[in-house]
């Protein structure tokens, strides 16, 4: 236990640990709610995994997430991010599925170009149905998940509301949702479509950033989860902030500052200060003690509970649950500096403004995943590719370009170790790109691979997982991150969670930060 001078007054109502988007949203919301807030960020600048940084001289990239599609429109509006400098390089970005030896598929909301008439018909019915499901599930995101096993009316009501949203779908849709809810996405797409390329592209979104292959149980849930989050965000599709994802966090930081929050960067937290069995502040790695009436951590649950707070302040059963959170990342980032515009076979220049998918079939994704199950990287990986400089030339020297790709699968604990495996994985990724963009390899000026192990170091997330823990049946809603901490409060009085490890999870969404701030405003009294 850390002992500090007793009787010292809290300098702040709230200390927020971590300046990623969730921490910033939380700090801004708390400040707007009238609390005095200090936000502490370990890195030299805010952003967390929503950061823009230089990876080669003159070339800048969104080092973590590279597309914004989950952050609710009302959140952007409430924090007036436009007036705090947020501009868009692109909005409503398209998805193009690259197909070997065939023209690519351009996927729209309701229709897709280049499909057979059967598939075209099925696609519009499927899209409409999935949108209805997404609309039914979307309200869940902004609510505090109910506690299980209590007799509290608020909890019961919350559970009933989830049931009611699903019941409101009507008998046929409800039955269909309950039928497919626990299925794997492979079977769902096989039921619906003929085209291998279409199935691959649709199935890819179900496993993007997840520890799953398309045949893994529960992958329809992960797809519905993504669609519901997108729907809840305003259904505006994908967008790219001008200046990369870091620009969003800079705007959030300005919004928080404008609301009165103090932000300190380069201030890594060593531990959470505990006094009289409640969180009373933090101790920085520098040894400095900062006091507050409550502490809200946007760090992942394992880091928050096991590293910053320490198991000795928690019960064994709770620690056991935290220790079992599945939080090992499987997604790597590939950053390429290119000396000219990349040319993908058959891809129109307009499509290069959107995202490109390399997931030619469900079988292909499953094969890529097989390697990861045994601690190896995929020999033929699947990818989500963006060329952010097409929309935002300022990210690279004039005439040159940046390619940013999510590459799967790259297991956190590579059997051979990433020191030995890094070059082979880069080669596999470049070979895959070369098949769809012949000559690309010759235009590469610099290349960077960021594996989950790298992301763990860079973003201080246990396991290097985007979502701070898999989104799966046993790790969502009232069991996210674990029972006992699923309502943003924790067993330690005065300590709250606000990061992606909480409901509703990661991706650049910001809802966890906002929900948490609302709970703090409700439950934690102001310091006198």
């Amino acid at each position: 236990m850390i002992v500090a001078a007793s009787g010292a007054a809290s300098a702040y109502d709230c200390i927020v640990i971590g300046g990623g988007h969730n921490g910033l949203v939380c700090a801004a919301t708390l400040s707007k709610g009238g609390r005095s807030v200090l936000l502490l960020e370990a890195a030299a600048e805010v952003g967390g995994a929503a950061l823009t940084r230089e990876f080669a001289p003159g070339f800048r990239v969104s080092a973590g997430a590279h597309l914004l599609h989950l952050m609710p429109a009302d959140l952007l509006r409430d924090l007036q991010l436009n007036s705090h400098g947020l501009e868009w390089a692109a909005q409503g970005m398209s998805s193009t599925a690259l197909v070997p030896d065939a023209p690519p598929l351009l996927l729209g909301h309701e229709s897709a170009a280049g499909l057979s008439s059967t598939d075209a018909q099925a696609y519009s019915a499927y899209s409409a149905r999935m949108r209805r499901f997404a609309a039914a599930l979307a309200p869940v995101f902004s609510r505090v998940p109910p506690r299980l096993g209590t007799s509290g009316w608020a909890d019961r009501l919350s559970l009933l509301r989830i049931g009611w949203e699903i019941r409101k779908l009507g008998r046929r849709d409800m039955r269909e949702l309950l039928r497919i809810g626990g299925m794997n996405v492979y079977d769902l797409l096989e039921e619906n479509f003929e085209s291998a390329a279409l199935k691959g592209a649709l199935g890819f979104d179900a496993v993007l950033g997840a520890n799953f292959g398309p045949r893994s149980p529960g992958t329809v849930l992960t797809l519905l989860y993504r669609l519901a989050a997108e729907y809840g965000a305003g259904d505006a599709g994908m967008s790219q902030p001008k200046g990369g994802m870091g620009a969003l966090c800079n705007a959030l930081a300005k919004a928080a500052s404008a609301a009165g929050a103090a932000i300190r960067t380069g201030a890594p937290v060593a531990s959470i200060l505990v006094e009289g069995d409640r969180a009373a502040g933090v101790v920085l790695e520098s040894g400095e003690t900062l006091r507050a009436h409550c502490v809200i951590s946007s760090a992942d649950p394992k880091t928050t509970f096991l590293e910053l707070l320490g198991a000795r302040h928690l019960d064994t059963g709770f620690v056991r649950r935290v220790n079992h959170i599945r939080s090992r990342g499987l997604a790597a980032k590939l950053h390429l500096a290119l000396n000219r515009t990349p040319v993908f076979r058959g891809v129109a220049e307009a499509s290069l403004r959107g995202r490109l998918l390399i997931a030619p079939s469900l079988q292909h994704i499953e094969h890529a995943y097989n390697h990861a199950k045994y601690g190896e990287y995929s020999a033929a990986p699947v990818m989500e590719i963006t060329v952010p400089t097409v929309n935002d030339p300022a990210l690279a020297p004039a005439g040159q370009h940046v390619l940013s790709a999510v590459v799967q699968y790259a297991p956190y604990a590579l059997k051979a170790g990433w020191e030995a495996g890094r070059q082979g994985f880069l080669d596999a990724a470049l070979d895959t790109l070369e098949r769809f963009a012949p000559g690309l390899r010759g235009t590469v000026v610099a290349a960077e691979v960021s594996t989950p192990a790298d992301m763990e170091r860079e973003f201080r997330t246990s396991g290097g997982h985007w979502h701070h823990g898999d989104l799966a049946f046993d790790q969502i809603l009232m069991v996210r991150p674990v029972p006992g901490a699923a309502q943003y409060q924790t067993p330690m009085a005065g300590l709250f969670l606000c990061g992606a490890g909480c409901h509703p999870g990661g991706g650049v969404m910001g809802i966890a930060g906002r929900n948490a701030a609302r709970e703090v405003l409700k439950h934690a009294v102001k310091s006198p």
Binding site: D277, L306, R312, D315, T316, V319
Partner: protein, 400 residues
Amino acid sequence: MSENLEPHFRRPLLKTPFHERARALSQVDSFIPWAGYTTVDVFTTMEQEYFAIRNAATLYDLTPMVKYRVAGPDVVAYLNRLVTRDVAKLKPDRVAYCVWCNDSGHLIDDGTIFRLGASDYRICTAERQIDWFLDSAIGFDVEISEVTEQIAALAVQGPTSCAVLKTLGLAGVENLKPFEIGYFSLHGHALTISRTGFTGDLGYELWMEPRSAEAVWDALMAAGRSRGIRAIGSQALNMARIEAGFLLPNVDFVSAEHTLRIGRDRSPLELGLKWLVDFNKGHFTGRRALLAEEIEGPRRQLVGLDVAGNKPAHNALLYTEAGGKREIGSVTSAIWSPTCKRNIALAIVDAPHFRMGSTVWADIYLNRELVWERRMSRAQIVERPFFAPERRRATPPAEF
């Protein structure tokens, strides 16, 4: 190396190092399984063995008691987070009775912690706990290993037990205080002796290497002949422990890790073990739940009962009145106590009916030559232990 290639599942129970000696003395061939070992339930008759506990000296093989060694730089912090007592207060060569709880403050098990060195501890428990102990070690620099098979253990209990040990030449054993540990040598066999036991009487527990087991047994039997020494089984021990008011897992409480039904797990406050709970020592598992429970008050309480008549109130339901309308609890352990000459029982009684001195009614079923009879007996809630002779604490103990 063993030449025996018979598959282990044909003989699933292990034999303790004392087994051959016990087998030779067993007159009724009554063996029961205990924690993976075969052990004696009764050697001759329960009553004969019980009276040896209270009037002479007894040997009881407690090798199956599960033993863990816990050591490492964080061992005190670890143990203090694990159990409800303040282990930091436990001095070297001392033993403490402890309980540990789950997150909701319900008992997982009880046991004794032996401090054998500066940062070397042993936990003895009735049931295996390795998963809970290892999960409790997350975030602590400690090593935990099970050492059950490496240590043979023998309880020497009864008023003449100290005299028997002195006859063996274990000089200074009489100076051991209750819960103290001493180190001795017997014909070249190292013996660790703790003044502990499960009888509530004067007694000791002897810990040794398995290869020393038979020699120590033989020496004790020879030295104790004139003092009435006798090997005893679990049935006689059970009588003694009820008189002493000690709890038996799976009889007086079920581990919270094993209960399935709501309300079947028990907190230390409910079991009358509040004296083991130290809220001021810092955090331990279950502390927050127990604090809340203390504010609300326990929902039920384990109590001692003095039951009218001489028919043990085995498994009896308890009522507020003789009419048997309002059920308020049940008996967990009951015997006619030959030493106290009282009909005693341990029972769980719901709030608010567990006040000391109040009267409850026990619905006792009697099987009299295959005809069941029912008797509603008055019972009074009384202090535990029922039997607590001065000799259990006296140092040095008197010569008997």
